[in-house]
Symmetry: C2
Subunit: 252 residues, 2 copies
C-alpha cells in the first residue's frame, strides 16, 4: 500500500470518527445487557428519580403526583419517564420525580423519609454530587469528598435496610468545562466526587449511568455549551442525551 | 396439519399481535422515507412548532427563547425538539415552540405575523383543530368544518406566499374516546376536521403526522386513559408517543 493511500485511509477513519452520530456515542459509552430491562422492571413497579436541580427541572411541587406532567418538570427525568411509561404501557408503572434544586447529599437525607422511603420505590435512581462540590467551591458549604462519601453511603445503607430488594441506579455527577460556570480547574477536584459515586455503585451493586463519559464524548461532536450552557445544567439537547444514556443503562 | 395445531398457530399469531410493542405500532402507522431527514434539515435551519395547548404544554411565555427549556414547556415538542438538537448537534438548529393553549385556527391567524412569519421558519409544524371542534361542541364557538378548512387554507397560503420554500409538517388532530372528556359521539363529527387537515396536507404537499392512527393503535395496547386522561391532552406516555410519531414522520 502506498503512503498516500495509507494516509487516505487514516484520514477516512479520522473523519468517520469525527462525525460519529450521537447514538453511536451513547452506545460506545454504555454496553447494555439486554436482560437488564426484563430483570429490572415488573408490573406495578414504583420508580423514583431523586437528585438536585438537574432532576428537579422546574417541576411543580404542590401536588407532586406520579406519572404527572406538571410534577415532572422538563428535564431528563421527564423524557426518561415518559419513554418508560410508553414502552411499558401495560405494566402499570408509578413514576415519581422528587429532585430538588440545590440539593447536596445531606439534604436528600433530611427529606429521605417523605421523599423516598414513604414512596416505597422498587427502582430508585439518584443523581447527586455537583452541588456538594460547587457550593463548597464558591464558599457556601463546608463539605469535603469524605463528607460526600459518608453521607451518600449512609443514605444508601438506610435505603437498603428498609428495602433490601430495591434496585438502585446511581448516576455519575458530571461537568463540562469551556462553559459559563465551569473551567478546567474543576476537573481534578470534582473527579474525586465522581470516583466516590462509582465506588458506591460497585459497593452497593447498583446500575451505573456514566454521564461524564457521555458528555465528554458529546463535547467532541459539538461545543460543550451546546450540551450545557453553564457546564452543570443540561440544555434541551443535553436533557435528551441524558435520558438516552439513562435508558440505555437500564437496558431500554 | 391437525385442527388443534392450526388453532395453536392461530392463537400464537393473535397473542403476538396483542403484545406488539409500541415502537412496532408507530412503525406500522408511519412509513419513513429515509431520505426525508437529509432533504428536510439543513445547517442553521429555523424550526417552529405551532398549535394549541398540546403544543404549548405549559411553556413560559415571557422570554419565548428558542432552544430554551423553560420556553418549551413539557410536551411532545420538548421531546421532539430535544431529540433534533441532540441528533443534529452540529447543525446549529434554532427551534421555537409558539403553541398557545385554547387556540383555534383563527387565533393562530391573529398572531401569525409575530409568532410565525417574523421567525422566518424553514420548517413549520402545525397541530391545530381539536378546539375548533371542542369549543363549538360545548357552545363557546360558532365554528364549522367549513370555517376550519377556509381559515386553515388561508393560513397556509399566507405562509407559502411569504416563504415559498418553507417545509410544512401538518399534524393530524386526534381524540381518544373512553376518557374523561371524550366519548364515541365525538368520532364522526370530529373526523370531518381530521379529513380537512389531511386534504390540506395533500393540497400543500406537506409532511403528515397521523396522530389519530397512532393513538388508536396505542389504545389497543393499554387503555385510552393511559395515553390521554381527558381524551385530548396527552399523558407523559402520550407525549413520548407523539414525539416518536412526529420524529418518524420527519425521517428521524
Amino acid at each position: 500500500m502506498s503512503i498516500s493511500r495509507r494516509n487516505f485511509f487514516k484520514r477516512t477513519i479520522i473523519t468517520t470518527s469525527a462525525v460519529a452520530s450521537i447514538p453511536a456515542i451513547v452506545s460506545s459509552c454504555i454496553s447494555t445487557n439486554e436482560k437488564t430491562k426484563e430483570s429490572l422492571f415488573s408490573k406495578d413497579d414504583v420508580i423514583l428519580f431523586q437528585g438536585d436541580s438537574i432532576t428537579d427541572a422546574g417541576r411543580e411541587k404542590q401536588s407532586e403526583l406520579p406519572n404527572n406532567i406538571r410534577s415532572f418538570g422538563a428535564g431528563y427525568a421527564f423524557i426518561a419517564a415518559s419513554e418508560l411509561l410508553k414502552e411499558m404501557a401495560d405494566k402499570n408503572l408509578t413514576i415519581y420525580n422528587r429532585g430538588i434544586s440545590g440539593n447536596k447529599v445531606y439534604q436528600l437525607a433530611e427529606r429521605w423519609q417523605k421523599d423516598c422511603l414513604d414512596l416505597k420505590p422498587d427502582i430508585l435512581s439518584i443523581l447527586i454530587g455537583v452541588n456538594d462540590y460547587w457550593h463548597m467551591r464558591n464558599g457556601n458549604y463546608d463539605g469535603t469528598p469524605d463528607i460526600y462519601e459518608n453521607d451518600y453511603r449512609e443514605l444508601l445503607t438506610r435505603t437498603k435496610k428498609e428495602f433490601p430488594d430495591v434496585k438502585l441506579v446511581i448516576c455519575e455527577p458530571f461537568i463540562l468545562p469551556e462553559t459559563r460556570a465551569v473551567d478546567e480547574s474543576w476537573i481534578e477536584p470534582f473527579s474525586l466526587y465522581q470516583k466516590i459515586a462509582a465506588k458506591l455503585s460497585e459497593e452497593f451493586k447498583t446500575l451505573w449511568v456514566p454521564f461524564q463519559k457521555v458528555f465528554t464524548e458529546a463535547a467532541k461532536v459539538a461545543p460543550a455549551v451546546v450540551w450545557t450552557e453553564d457546564g452543570v445544567h443540561p440544555s434541551l439537547a443535553g436533557c435528551h442525551l441524558m435520558a438516552e444514556a439513562w435508558l440505555k443503562s437500564v437496558g431500554m
